[in-house]
Amino acid sequence: MSGIMVKNITKKFGDFIAVNNVSFDVKEGELAALLGPSGSGKSTLLRIIAGLENPDMGQIFLTGKDVTPLRTQKRNVGFVFQHYALFKHMTVEKNIAFGLEIQKKDKKEIKQKVEELIDLVKLNGYNKHYPSQLSGGQRQRVALARALATEPKVLLLDEPFGSLDAKVRKNLAQWIRDLHNRVNVTSVFVTHDQNEAIEISDKIIVINRGKVEQIGNATDVYEHPKSKFVASFVGNVNVINANIKKNHIVITGTKEKIQFKEKTEINFQNIVLLIRPEDIIVKDNSTEDTVPCIINGIYYRGSFYEVDLKVGTNNVKSLVPKEDFFKFEWRKGTKVYIRFRKFKIFEASEGHKKVHEMLKQLGYIE
């Protein structure tokens, strides 16, 4: 059964369409990431699910029930705000107890539940602290405990790690993943950090300018991006301008050609190849499917080397594993050859689609 179902949601602010006909589905117990650049409508969407905004069109289903007409108070969702929105005048335990007190739960029960949650978010000893006396990460955990107190079926987190430093962020992300596995909720968290999305989510919903670009698991989104936007937003990507002439790909600014394995007769001007850095293989000998280029710079990156290359007028980055790197004597200015393990062409015109098809048949792209 689906924990959260968003159906054809549209939201306008005046003339501006913040969310444009968005639909997706998060299964019960799943942790989904809502990934997109700033201003893409992530928060708006989350707020619509929580009932903090009313959509202009569409429906929201929580655990199979249509909650669109329900007020926020009746939806029983947990919400963790981007800036936590802790009640500043209440202690940690008062904050966590708030939802339970509203529900007029038994005092003893509340106390016990609060203790449990404080334990869960590892804030033992901080019961009587005020939010202003806590660190960012601690506030974050109070916000989480407060949201979980009423045992919501659905947990929504708006950039939960947004204002934390990189290290705390990473720990907390992993910790939330574990926590999610322990308590039985369906969660959606908003992020604009692709690594975070890839690392902890079961499902990634990429949105851009209020529209869903792609839905899938981390591998899908990274390895098989459906659009140029997804390819470039999720992970690093090289953008190379090229033309296709007869049975070659000619990179703009070079005479060198990448020979297709089979003879075809297609001509296309100005196409864009998208290639992930790790899909560019650098060699020091040429073959039919390589292009010569010059090394512009080499950077040590720990487990691999990042190599900047100049191909015609294009600057390209390649990631070379350490063991491959030491096979050669590369220096700045060395002439080398690159081969594309795979690449993508995105330009949605009819012509490009045809090229795409052909290249696919030829086995150049997936």
Partner: protein, 274 residues
Amino acid sequence: MNSSLKRFVKGNLTLRGIALFYIGLLIILPVIAITTEAFKGGIPNLWKQITLPQALFSLKFTFIIALIMLVINIITGTATAWVLVRYDFPLKKTINALIDIPFAIPTVVTGMMLVVLCGPRSLIGEFFGKHGIEIIYNKPGIILALIFVTFPFVVRSVQPVLIEMERDMEEAAQTLGASKFKVFFHIVLPTILPSILTGAALSFSRALGEFGSIVIVAGNIPMKTQVASVYIYGEIESANIQSGLGTAVVLLLSSFIVLIFLNFIQRWSNKYGK
């Protein structure tokens, strides 16, 4: 925004209606009433009332006195704020706490304090009296009363800005070779100017309207030491409503001008602060 929350705060027409009713009843309606009443006899008549010798004198006198107060208050107020923020000295905390006293003490009491202190029978009063200077029942007394009553305005408006002002700006200027005076006039002053002006405008409008302390301290002699508010009061008491109205409308208009000025400073300093 959620519809119920929206109904509660953003679009709550009941709340808005109550607020507007209250402002309408207590502020807008009285202002309209007094203006209508003043213009009832026609503009020429109103002008005649304003330019009656006594009325005109009281207005001029009030403005001049208020301006003198303003100059003194800007200087001493800014200096006080500066000393309280930047320096450490004995009794600083106490003094800081006592700055607000003029706001807390009834103005009538203020007037009486000044009379005991500088009146003709007091030590100070006698001393100056011998030299032919009359403090109480004359201009110095009025100015003194106004300074006392409005003293906190400039201090309290400049103080927070000085506290928040980054010392590094000044230090940067110093490392660039600017002298203390240059630093003050080029760095500090422009930063605190909006707050000085805010405090000044507030004290100015207060001074224009002040009544309680002045009625006691000033001799209230027409054409000599009578300020506008005392003049208006006298006219009301002797049932000369029309002649009181003219002066009242001028004071009211000045209040509005001060309000507009304050608004303008606020917008200006907002722009500048961001």
